[in-house]
């Protein structure tokens, strides 16, 4: 069964304290792995797409990496404005839909 598991469920960091979020996936025929940011009451905001193992993408304080079984979202020197829920999703060549994980709720304290 295709599925996505994210850990931890919640993460509290001090401003400037770097950390990583994990996304483990099981999907047949992986097409892409996606990271989104979701603020309360808002829609998911696209961050990154990763298509193959070994690929890395960066944007400001965020860096996403991909292996054959999991992806990491590394947050370097986070700021309070990085506080949000980070969602991981995967797509397959077999189906026209995304499978989402439950998300990691990040809280960065000043």
């Amino acid at each position: 069964e295709d599925q996505v598991t994210q850990s931890p469920e919640a993460l509290r960091l001090q401003e400037g304290e770097s950390s990583s979020l994990n996304c483990s996936y099981t999907v047949s025929g992986l097409r892409g792995l996606f990271w989104y940011r979701q603020d309360p009451g808002k829609g998911p905001e696209f961050l990154f797409t990763l298509y193959s193992a070994g690929e890395e993408k960066e944007k400001e304080r965020l860096k996403a990496t991909l292996t054959k079984k999991e992806s990491f979202l590394h947050i370097t020197a986070p700021k309070p404005e990085d506080s949000a829920t980070y969602l991981c999703a995967v797509s397959s060549y077999n189906f026209n839909k995304f499978y989402f994980g439950s998300g990691t709720k990040l809280n960065v304290k000043p």
Binding site: F46, Y93, K97, G103
Partner: protein, 114 residues
């Protein structure tokens, strides 16, 4: 920057009533989706739409649900007879890069069924 727009932002309806949620996808995108998120839960797939027909639908998307692209810009989700358990945030998304490529989401419609 192009974006997906959804209206209304909040809809309150009585159980058994019909609702239509509206979306304007990004203009050159060809793949359209509806997802929903019950408070505190995962984002769940409802339906995908391409070339004027449904390409995938979930078990949630039963006969009470329908989608339509009535013109060249709008994409709608209709719920014929709402139930209390339909209360959720409904997100429209569109993709321009082909099956399984990144999708861009609207800000959602919060549907409350009373």
């Amino acid at each position: 920057e192009p974006e997906v727009t959804q209206t209304p932002s909040h809809q309150v309806t009585q159980m058994g009533q019909e609702v239509i949620l509206r979306c304007v996808p990004i203009s050159n995108h060809l793949y359209f989706y509806w997802y929903r998120q019950i408070l505190g839960q995962k984002v769940e797939f409802l339906v995908s739409f391409y070339n004027n027909e449904i390409s995938e639908k979930s078990e949630i998307f039963d006969d009470q649900f329908s989608v339509e692209r009535p013109d060249g810009s709008n994409f709608t989700l209709k719920i014929r007879s709402t139930k209390l358990e339909d209360s959720a945030m409904y997100f429209c998304a569109s993709s321009g890069g082909g099956v399984g490529t990144e999708a861009f989401f609207g800000q959602g419609t919060r549907l409350t069924v009373v």
